[in-house]
Symmetry: C2
Subunit: 390 residues, 2 copies
């Protein structure tokens, strides 16, 4: 196990009927809040009204930042910062998926910065403080409700960048599985795949046998995520399965399974960002298209042991003496699972052809430069990974 530090201060309130406590719990954070939402669904389902009324019943004044889109953009963050400053907002409530929560965090940090919040993403400024953030996720996927990260796209430069700070951990997150009953089939599946990918990237990074605690936690959460995703597709209003999917997705990126595994980039996320940027693919769909190919590439160039371990513990693969073969079987069986839940499982499934690899690799390698991992994931390496994903 590598040396590590771990701290996660977010308070989780989980379960049925918890949203009626929102105003009561939030009023310790102030009397003026900004409510950040996405495009439509929370208004259609009535959750928006419920949340707003509950806040107002606790004498909290609510301003709105609505219309946050997938792959959330800097201009929306700027708009939120403007509203927050103008209204002397004291805390932010995010009601939506990862994009909404990430936008809320960026606004929370940006309001108290002297310069532009984008400087933080470019590494030119540090977050010293932020307004309090309360999250109410409506999708089990990103894990943003219990971590200190946010990913924002600068539409002018085309850069999609992540930033993190202890100051943007949500103060409280209300996890209400019932809010996810109405998530469409495709996004239920994409969310499950996103969470599995958050676990896989650190898990596949290290050598076998080095991190038994983290491996057990990751394997257990991956099994739950796979089973509960299937179960939620079969019965979208099964509370206990929606609850398992939601809590497992939150724990998948709250730092616990990463602590102690050592440095690990997120190459699948890196390449997926390029797919989203170029083709407008949904994040989880892009990850699904890459994952089984990446496993085969990883097994071939970095050793098959950890891929086989995943196959053995999460897919019921019987391991023979040939580890390389076992890794290929693992990747194929995972690809079959992705297809079984209705996800694309290759670049072809997304309609992307081999001739497009150069363009994707170009975009992703620029991103790798900004992430500081261009040594490991240069243009040629990324193109090689893509060839396994075709």
């Amino acid at each position: 196990m590598e040396n590590f530090e771990f701290q996660n201060p977010t308070r989780i309130i989980f379960g049925r009927g918890i949203l009626k406590r929102l105003g009561q719990e939030a009023k310790s954070l102030g009397t003026r809040c900004l409510l950040v939402t996405g495009r439509k669904s929370v208004k259609e389902t009535g959750v928006y009204d419920l949340v707003k009324k509950n806040l107002e019943s606790a004498a909290i004044e609510v301003r709105d930042l609505s219309g946050v889109q997938s792959n959330p953009v800097l201009s929306k963050v700027h708009q939120g910062i403007g509203i927050a400053r103008e209204g002397s907002i004291q805390f932010i409530v995010a009601l939506g998926g990862g994009s909404v929560m990430d936008t809320a965090k960026a606004v929370a940090a940006g309001v108290l910065l002297e310069g532009d919040v984008w400087d933080v993403f470019e590494g030119r400024a540090a977050i010293e403080r932020a307004l309090s953030v309360v999250c109410i996720p409506t999708l089990a996927a990103s894990g943003s409700e219990m971590n200190g990260f946010m990913v924002i796209t600068n539409e002018e430069t085309g850069h999609k960048l992540a930033a993190g700070s202890p100051h943007v951990y949500p103060k409280i997150s209300f996890l209400a599985p019932e809010l996810t009953f109405s998530v469409p089939r495709d996004y239920t599946a994409y969310g499950g795949v996103d969470a599995v990918c958050h676990l896989m990237e650190p898990y596949f990074n290290g050598p076998a046998g080095f991190t038994p605690v983290q491996d057990e936690l990751a394997q257990g959460l991956m099994r739950v995520l796979m089973k509960s995703t299937e179960a939620c597709l079969a019965s979208p209003e099964d509370y206990n399965q929606r609850a398992a999917l939601m809590w497992a997705a939150t724990l998948a990126l709250n730092g616990l399974t990463r602590a102690g595994v050592g440095e690990h980039p997120f190459p699948v996320h890196l390449i997926e960002h390029a797919l989203s940027a170029i083709y407008g693919v949904a994040h989880g769909a892009g990850l699904a298209a890459l994952l089984s190919g990446w496993m085969k590439w990883k097994a071939k160039f970095h050793g098959p042991e950890k891929i086989c371990q995943f196959g053995r513990h999460c897919l019921g693969i019987q391991e023979g003496s040939d580890q390389a073969l076992c890794a290929v079987q693992t990747a194929d069986r995972f690809r079959d699972w992705l297809k079984s839940i209705g996800c694309p499982a290759s670049l072809s499934d997304l309609g992307i052809a081999e001739k497009d690899h150069g363009r994707i690799a170009e975009n992703a390698s620029r991103q790798a430069g900004i992430w500081g991992i261009e040594d490991q994931y240069g243009r040629d390496t990324i193109a090689q990974v893509l060839s396994f994903c075709q």
Copy 2:
């Protein structure tokens, strides 16, 4: 899954060579600390000097509270409160096992209370604030380094009681696996059993299939604890195994595996407290003597499903059609494991005879009354459990 709240603010600094950062990290908490230690070992190994010098090198004045014993006592807490008040102590450093950490927490809370700290344990007063606590565990066992609980014995009344508060979560815990290289064989095993028991009691409490996330986490941690305990007995200075044992023991009682499983008393801990009180048995040894019998009792009177699930996932039991038989096999195989690591596995192994059950049940049922679980664990029920543990 039941509704739950979860928050754990403790900052963990884990690894090799981390103690040299102690003074630097702790000085934000103040310039006057109380260093709480046990009887001898930290002075013999030189860790005490290292810690004290490191604190002093950061211009922190150190006072001592030494000689904390197993099953830590109220008089020692009172002594610590006296020293802390007299020296205007600002924070507490605990260097030792669970007894030392629990004593440090009780002092930290007691210093700022107007009345007697024992009132908190008896439920007559609440902790509104506490001095900051820094933990440096020297044993992988109690989990006190990452939770808000403490257990103290009042020597005058003979009551051993637990209390908890968000204010006594350690601010920082330094987890240095190398400190446990010198833990003797018996206490290495007892520590592993204590941590397994912390996971088992909530795990066995709920119905099968109800909490898949929590079950996966608990099963994974139990497997790691069992394997790493064996490995540490075989090679006491295997860093990676000591690290796995330490981190798994910390996660075993940090709230994560309990959140969402619903109300669960700790009956094995309840009965063990009586064994420790009457016979002076080491805590982990007492738990070991009770666990396999308790499993058989639990299977018989509350259903065998969860016991079988443990057997299947943690002991390699092949489940047939007869769940009751499977539960007995599970309990027997766990008993064999306890023996294999040198632990007592029944009351007989501790030299306790059937005629002593009444006395133990009497003591434990009094404790159950104080815990408020006498309806579930009255004298007759406890005597019945004991008959399975003989």
